[in-house]
């Protein structure tokens, strides 16, 4: 089956060239064929998707104007609240949780006539870099089933790579959209903090979390961003239109940037694989060939980003996850004999290892006697990192880096070594700490035929420029056309 881009599907459906119901059935039959191998979904809404497709077809044949995502099958990460199905966060704690409301992004997708086809697997509560921390499901990399899909939005990236939806939403707290996009050879965009409403996104690190699109192409990401971006009264950290107006991100997507200046960070790729370094250098050459100027920049504090992040993110997580008390919603231990044990046992039995570890680390960093040494220190380092970006963006339009030091690693390789797993986020974390947007696009294959991603970072609220820069590369290379060969195909 030829894999159509999201934009193609949308255009063909809107033009009446294909029926939504036919296309949705096609995707569902592909899911039937390969999903048992890939494992990208926690929940698939087959019947509901077909019903909804029929409604959209009716709307179109009645001559009504279809929405921006008319008939397009979209998957969403299972940490975004939906009134249909469960919202599990891939946790035993929320395995049966049914949200009483939809996340704002879900409302926006529905208003744009998207067909929500399922909810994707993830690391429990979005904590992890391989999706191995899911308590409900195992997801593999469609390019090589012995490898991880990356994480935490591993299901969202694997579903797009395997052609099991036209595009998906992920969430990115320290790289959770960009790193799995890189591992699965698709496009992943983390918008600026505040660009997309977080209302209805189950909170992990509230000052870092951001929802964004995972797609096959840069233009697809622009189209999805058009739908989900914007101020939301229900999220006090989403920015007002007057402060940072949203653009039509598709409008100028094919226009290259004149006089583009690209920054590369001196001595930043020492720890990366040879293939990853080579691919980055080749990408820089592509941009040079398109007339871009390359400047070397110094960002002396990037080296401290992982350390600061794992204090800030876990501190926020320990506070956010205090709400799981075995009383209001979620899992309650049947073994609790008094009210204290309702808390301690429900949480012990409901949370997996990594979630417990992060709650513990965050609680430690915030506890009396350690607050200044860890939490306060991390906030100061965070400021230094932001200042590094401010200075750097005075010299260039964007920064290009690897997305991760390696390509998709073997399942099981890092799971017993949390610190090693954390260090795989070294290139993606700085953008979350600084709140700036970043995109991952495919820029190569390694010696094992696994995708290598290229990360582009740009100043806050410059998604328009960021997408155009990414599109320049995509338009002049063929990497985005390489697709995995799934064994059950």
């Amino acid at each position: 089956m030829e894999q159509l881009s999201l934009l193609d599907v949308r255009n063909k459906i809107a033009a009446g060239d294909i029926k939504t119901a036919d296309y949705v059935r096609q995707v569902l039959s592909r899911i039937e064929k390969v999903e048992s191998t890939v494992g990208s979904y926690i929940n698939i809404f087959g019947d509901e998707a077909i019903d909804r497709a029929a409604q959209i077809d009716e709307k179109i044949s009645a001559g009504q104007k279809p929405g921006a995502l008319a008939g397009v099958p979209i998957a969403i990460k299972d940490n975004m609240c939906t009134t249909f199905g469960q919202t599990t966060c891939a946790s035993k704690m929320l395995e049966n949780y049914q949200s009483p409301y939809n996340a704002t992004v879900v409302e926006k997708l529905l208003a744009a006539d998207a067909v929500i086809i399922g909810k994707t697997n993830m690391d429990e509560f979005a904590m992890g870099s391989s999706t191995e921390n899911s308590s409900l499901k195992k997801t593999v990399n469609p390019w090589n089933t012995s490898r991880v899909p990356g994480g935490s939005s591993g299901g969202s990236a694997a579903a797009v790579a395997a052609g099991l939806c036209s595009g998906s939403l992920g969430s990115d707290t320290g790289g959770s959209i960009r790193q799995p996009a890189s591992f699965c050879g698709v496009v992943g965009l983390k918008p600026t903090y505040g660009r997309v409403s977080r209302y209805g996104l189950v909170a992990f690190g509230s000052s870092l979390d951001q929802i964004g699109p995972v797609t096959q192409t840069v233009s697809d990401a622009a189209l999805l961003l058009n739908v989900i971006a914007g101020h939301d009264e229900a999220d006090s950290t989403s920015v007002e239109q007057s402060d940072a107006p949203i653009d039509d991100y598709l409008n100028k997507i094919n226009e290259p940037l004149d006089g583009l200046k690209i920054g590369i960070v001196r001595d930043s790729t020492e720890g990366a694989d040879e293939d990853v370094k080579r691919s980055l250098n080749e990408a820089v050459e592509v941009y040079k060939g398109l007339g871009a100027e390359v400047v070397e920049v110094d960002m002396p504090h990037l080296d401290y980003a992982v350390a600061a992040y794992y204090v800030v993110a876990t501190a926020e997580a320990s506070s956010n996850l205090a709400r799981y008390d075995g009383v209001h919603y979620g899992y309650r231990s049947p073994n609790a004999t008094d009210y204290v044990e309702v808390y301690t046992r429900s949480r012990a039995e409901g949370f997996g290892d990594e979630v417990k570890r992060r709650i513990m680390l965050g609680t430690y960093a915030l506890s009396s006697g350690y607050y200044d040494a860890y939490y306060l220190k991390a906030l100061k380092v965070r400021n230094l990192i932001r200042q590094d970006f401010d200075k750097t963006f005075g010299q260039c339009d964007c920064i290009v880096t690897p997305v991760a030091p390696t390509t998709a690693f073997p399942i099981g390789q890092n799971i017993e070594d949390p610190l090693k797993m954390y260090l795989s986020d070294i290139y993606t974390i700085p953008a979350n700490l600084a709140g700036i947007p970043g995109i991952s696009i495919q820029a190569g294959l390694d010696s094992n035929d696994l995708p290598i991603g290229l990360q582009i970072l740009a100043p806050a609220f410059s998604e328009s420029k960021l997408l155009r820069i990414a599109r320049m590369f995509e338009k002049n290379t063929q990497w985005h056309k390489s697709k995995p060969k799934i064994p059950s195909e």
Binding site: H301, Y329, Y339, L379
Partner: protein
């Protein structure tokens, strides 16, 4: 080598976190958290005495909304996911002893 975080500290943090950990978990977390905290202390290489802490990248403070009534969730929906309830209240095990009233 003495651990940065020992079993005693893990127990204390587990109590603060309301997590009931097994002895094996306590041992494992002590060594894993020690390793992570040791790594995190790399931040001490930086002199941050004159740096302002940054809790948030947008630099926003309080946002005030209009004070206007809106629909709320309602009892039924609010209780729908509760592990135990009586249609009006969440039910939890007894908090006060029988004779302490």
């Amino acid at each position: 080598m003495s651990k940065k975080i020992d079993a005693q500290q893990v127990k204390k943090v587990a109590m603060l976190s309301r997590l009931d950990l097994s002895d094996a978990e306590i041992e494992r977390f002590a060594s894993q958290l020690s390793e992570i905290v040791t790594y995190v202390e790399k931040m001490n290489e930086l002199d941050t005495e004159k740096v302002e802490p940054m809790a948030h990248c947008l630099g926003i403070t309080n946002r005030f909304g209009e004070d206007r009534p809106a629909e709320s969730l309602g009892t039924e929906k609010a209780l729908a996911n509760a592990p135990d309830h009586d249609g009006q209240f969440f039910i939890v095990p007894r908090i006060l002893e029988e004779n302490s009233a």
